[in-house]
Structure formats: structure tokens, C-alpha cells
Symmetry: C3
Subunit: 190 residues, 3 copies
């Protein structure tokens, strides 16, 4: 089982790698780290403590901390959605900004089994119980199946195997649009 | 359209990730950021503001900021070719070093449609208009076509999909020579 | 040939990327850097100065500095096995912790040609000559052949081509257990 100390060290190490800071509010920080530990013990991965789980790894993948949205959020707002990771300015000012949910409605809808076009996105906290997913037919299942592809950053060549490319290339900071699919070709002569 | 503020934040975030600083001269910094913004608006990618574009993404790829040469240049000279990215020592001394062009002549020649062996490399700035590429025959085109391969760092396993490996592995800092091609093998039984 | 200055700059740059520090003891630091330079000149790669070489790149790969074990060691003990890389706390306290050898016995056994189950792991320094590997039969060779696979981090999609996944994902800090093999599928229609 992961200890709270390990969770804290991992978050600190990751913050340093990216030049970030952990939230300047000690009580908040303690709460986030405990939330991450609880989620890791419960689900096997440190799910974002500010969002609901779908109960399916493939649908939660983008909101495992550090989530897919942290880097663009810190770049744009100075903090991630949770305000666990912040930039230097926010850290020193201690004024936590409002950070809107960047997670696409389609992913929220898929995760929570709702029609994103009709309903408002769930605004969960770890205290609230996850919305149970309604029974899905085989056809619906196939429709929402997660297909991974090999993507590469056209700028620096960084390769990832994911459903879709990251918002920002972690190596060269290029935007999502700079990613393309690695296509392989097999030729037969005869 | 990318705002100047977004360009500045992206450069700052990238500098922090790698332990670099942005140039200590405020007017230079402003000029670089504006140059990057202009290039991104014009070409769709933040081309190095100190080099000429070829007009072809595939030929410019290595000089999109942060360019392929930044990391070896900061390691060797304390600053990149532009002196946009500098190390702590240079940042504090405010003495910008001379940094020679590390971009191989072949790539310059290919980009600008000149024979690198015969002519001096162009020393461009964004103000100068790009040298128009002369008409190329089909044969010449095929000859200069950019072929990407899957490379891996033999030290840490980092994988990239590029024409050739990076100068330095961004993960473990191994040199270019430590990269090899990922070879795939398909076996048939019958 | 790599200069001592290049070795020092590479280590400093890598420490900064990950938010680490180099050992606070100047004599130790000098010794490590010289050891790394000697190893790089001798073997072609900067083998860990605190461990023995097997003489085979494939068997030494995990102990090329920065070794595979550095990141989990700094996370858990505040320093790598050598104590070349340390965290801020250790750097400021100047108290170097004891760091046990995390390298698996199987890899030590394979590298030094000993049966890991029967013998104690070698505790080498660069001064000691490497244990000569006993003659191996063709069958034994095949058994210990290093097979590389394409792995990806299920959390962030990071891809590596290695014998086994890294201890910690260098991009999102997920644990080894979050890595899975990239499986490719080729379909024929006819």
C-alpha cells in the first residue's frame, strides 16, 4: 500500500520536474494528498481527488493525477483544476485562481454514461459517490471502446501510445495539433 | 490565434522544465517572443526567429523553437543559437556568449535549395525574406524526401519518430550515438 | 573524447531537469565525475562509478548513469545509490543517507555470470577489476539474451523500447506496474 509520505514525495518530485509548486495552502495540500492516497488504495491509481471516477480505468485515464489537463491549465491559469499544482506566481501570491474544467464533455459523458450534449457536466468531489453508469448494450459498448494509437510529435518526434495525443508535448511543449499518427507500411514483393 | 502572453508562458514553462532561463535582456526577450508569435501566426508553428524558413514544414522541423540544437548548445555554450534560452550562469552574468550555428549544412542546404558543399550557409533573420527554393525535378524531390524512423535510446529506452535521432536524449541525456533504430520483425509459420 | 567539463555540465543539466542536486561534498563530486569520464572513455558510456561492469552493453544498460534506479532511490531515500544525485533536503543537510542496492539480483547475476540465488551480490567500486564471466554454452546464452519490447505507460502514454519498463514513468511519475506492452495486430483480408 502506498504511504502518504510516498504520495507527497511523488507529487513534490513531479512539481520540481515541471517547475511547478504544490498548493501554498497547507490544509488543502494535506486534503489532496490524502484524497490521492485513498483513490490509489481504492482504485489502484491516484485518481484526481476533485473529480468523479467512472469505475473503468480506460475512461478515467485522463484524470489520473497528474491529469492530462494539468499542463495546459497551469500554462493558462497558473494552476491545475484542483489547484494542487500551481506556478511560482500563484504559489507566492497565495491567491488561488478559478480554473474551469477543461476535460471535454465527450469524455465526461462517456465516463459517467450520460449524453454530454443534453446534460451539464458533473461537478464532483471525492466526497460525493460516483454516478453509477447505466447498463450499456453491446452496441453502445463497441461505440465507446477506447482505441489506442501510436502518435508522434511532428516537432520533436516524441512518441505516445494513447487514445488521442496529449494537449501539450511534454518534451518540446508543442500543441496537440502537432501530433500525427505513426503509420506503418508493410510491403510484399512477389 | 496565439497571444503574446501564451508564447511567453510557454517559453517560461519550457525554460523551467529544463532548468534554463530566458534571456536576461528585456528588449531582446520581447523581440524574440514577438518573432515567435509572428512565425506561429504565419506558418502555424513557432519557427526560430533567428533563422530562415524553407516554407516546408518537413525541412523546418529541426528549427521550430525549442529547436533540435538548443540543448547541446546550452550544454556547451550556456545559451542557444538565438540566446533566447540561457543557463543560470549566463542569466546572472548577463554576458551573452557567441553561439555558432550547429545546424548541419546538409539540412540548411536542403531547406534553402542550395548545394551546401559549395555555398556558405544563409545567416538569416526573420526580417529577411526567405530564399526562394528553385524548381526541383521529380528525381531531386525523391532524393530529398524526409523519411522518418522509429529510434530508441539504448540507455533509457526513450522512443522518437524522426528523420534522425535527437542530439541529446531528453530523458537521460545520452548522446545521439546511443540511439538505434527500432527494428520490427514479422514471423510467419506455415 | 569527453572532457571532465562536459561530464560535469551533463550531470548538472540532468540534475536540474529532475529537480535534483549533485552531492554536496566537493571531493566526492570530483571523484564521481572523474569516474564517469574514465568509464565513458573506456567503455563508450558513463557506467555508474560505484558498480562493476559486465563488459557487455546489454547487461550494463541499467547501470549507465543516470541509472534505472536513481529516480526511485531519490524518491525513497533522498539520494541515488552512489549519492551523486541527491534531493534538496539531503543537499542542504549534507547528511548523505545509506542507500541499499535496488538493482535486482537477477540482473546482477546475469551481468557477472553468477547464480544470484546462491551468491551474495557483488559490491563493486570502479577500482576493483570486474569479475570475469565464465564461459557460457550456446544454450545459456540464448537463455540470457536480452529481448526488448515496446512498452507504454497506461497513464500518460509514454513509450519506451526496453527489456522491461522503467521503475517510474519519467513523464507522469506512474509506477512500473502502470506499463504494458504495445501489442500490434496485422489483419489480412482475402
Amino acid at each position: 500500500m502506498t504511504t502518504l509520505e510516498q504520495v507527497r514525495k511523488r507529487a513534490e518530485a513531479d512539481a520540481k520536474t515541471y517547475g511547478y509548486y504544490l498548493t501554498p495552502q497547507p490544509e488543502l495540500l494535506q486534503g489532496f494528498l490524502e484524497g490521492l492516497k485513498i483513490n490509489e488504495d481504492r482504485y489502484g491509481y491516484p485518481l484526481c481527488p476533485c473529480r468523479l471516477t467512472s469505475g473503468k480505468f480506460e475512461y478515467d485515464r485522463d484524470i489520473i493525477c497528474p491529469c492530462d489537463y494539468r499542463d495546459p491549465d497551469v500554462a493558462e491559469y497558473g494552476a491545475c483544476y484542483c489547484r494542487l499544482y500551481v506556478n511560482k506566481e500563484v504559489y507566492e501570491s497565495k491567491n488561488l485562481p478559478e480554473v474551469p474544467e477543461r476535460r471535454p464533455l465527450e469524455k465526461q459523458g462517456r465516463a459517467y454514461g450520460i449524453d454530454a450534449a443534453k446534460q451539464a457536466p458533473p461537478q464532483g468531489t471525492q466526497e460525493k459517490p460516483p454516478t453509477p453508469a447505466p447498463a450499456t448494450t453491446q452496441a453502445e459498448k463497441a461505440k465507446t471502446e477506447v482505441k489506442k494509437k501510436l502518435w508522434y510529435c511532428k516537432q520533436c518526434g516524441y512518441v505516445v501510445f494513447r487514445e488521442d495525443p496529449p494537449y501539450i508535448c511534454p518534451i518540446c511543449k508543442a500543441k496537440k495539433e502537432m501530433f500525427a499518427e505513426v503509420e506503418s507500411k508493410i510491403e510484399f514483393n512477389g
